[in-house]
């Protein structure tokens, strides 16, 4: 998943908006944004945070500065453990051409000590939005781990995986009624990238996405099964 190949694959698929959401880290976001410059592919700055409850929350921001500010909170909330490359693989930080810059030695696959409420509040305070990721999965899911979405949680949307056809989501999971539903690639490899959500909005920004998820102001999303 090196930056120029991500950009190229996005163009092949006709994707105009993608987000980089590494696990508990955002050190590769800027490289992909630089690689995508002039390509017609907009790249949102993001992260997939693992909360204290072991739920995955996708955070999206407008700028690299915002996501890096958020990353400081996340890094301070991770256990002081080092990655073991022979078990979990190497965690490289690369430049916009895909060249090696450094190795991230933190154990990024651990849970942060941040409760889900603190993640949503912290991201919101920095101007970002939060999406509960793959809630229909058995692991790392807000629904599996906490049973239902905590009352009053300011999520912009709830993401369902390919396991659940969008039209069946609230039948299988009545707890999701009333929440904006989205789908995403959740791609960990180039071959997993796909175009599965059409967003109608004025520009690729956090505020526009929030409107689109809620279907307000003429903005909307269309999900493809």
């Amino acid at each position: 998943m090196i930056p120029p190949l991500i950009t190229r694959r996005a163009r092949e698929l006709g994707l105009e908006l993608i987000a980089i959401t590494d696990h508990n880290s955002a050190e590769n976001v800027e490289a992909v944004q630089l690689a995508a410059k002039g390509s017609g592919v907009a790249v949102l700055a993001g992260m997939e945070v693992q909360t204290r409850e072991e739920a995955h929350i996708v955070c999206l921001f407008d700028t690299v500065a915002q996501v890096l500010a958020w990353q400081e909170t996340v890094y301070a909330s991770l256990p002081p453990l080092k990655n073991r490359e022979e078990v979990f693989g190497a965690q490289f930080v690369v430049d916009e051409t895909g060249d090696y810059r450094r190795t991230n030695e933190r154990l990024l696959l651990a849970s942060t000590a941040l409760p889900v409420e603190e993640v949503v509040a912290g991201v919101g305070a920095l101007g970002g939005l939060c999406i509960a990721a793959h809630v229909d999965r058995q692991a790392y899911s807000l629904l599996a781990n906490l049973g239902f979405i905590p009352a009053g949680l300011a999520l912009a949307a709830v993401e369902i995986s390919r396991l659940t056809p969008p039209e069946e989501a609230t039948v299988r999971y009545p707890q999701l009624r009333g929440w904006p539903l989205i789908t995403s690639g959740d791609a960990h490899r180039l071959s997993e990238m796909r175009a599965n959500m059409l967003v109608t909005c004025c520009q690729p920004s956090v505020s526009e996405l929030q409107l689109a998820f809620r279907g307000e102001g003429g903005r909307k999303v269309k999900l493809f099964p």
């Binding site: 409850e53 599996a144 906490l146 049973g147 239902f148």
Partner: protein
């Protein structure tokens, strides 16, 4: 066996729900996935978990559980504890692991729900 017997035998700290320590215990259940607890635990059970989210109290109330034991020295936040007091859910704390707590409960004669 009532909640108070378990507190005494395991040396647990009562963090909330102190008015309901005479709840009769019908069995035990251990999981950190609340979705599993909702499907598997039964009324009057003691539930052992290291989750400390407010949803824990909501699930305990929903199922009418006898008490919740939060393990590994995890301290629930104020919101969780005030909700537990409000709903009358005995919320007990242990520094030990879930494995150790469940072992001791088993020795006291507490079994899985039928």
């Amino acid at each position: 066996m009532i909640v108070h017997d378990v507190i005494a035998a395991l040396g647990l700290e009562v963090a909330a729900g102190a008015d309901h320590l005479d709840n009769e215990l019908t069995g035990g259940y251990a999981s950190d996935l609340l979705s599993c607890v909702m499907a598997g635990a039964k009324a009057g059970n003691v539930w052992v978990t290291l989750q400390a989210h407010t949803n824990v109290i909501a699930v305990a109330e929903l199922l009418g559980l006898g008490c919740v034991i939060i393990t590994e020295g995890v301290r629930p936040g104020e919101e969780t504890l005030s909700r537990a007091n409000e709903k009358g859910v005995p919320t007990l704390l242990s520094k030990e692991s879930t494995f150790a707590v469940v072992g001791k409960l088993w020795q006291l004669g507490i079994r899985s729900p039928k």
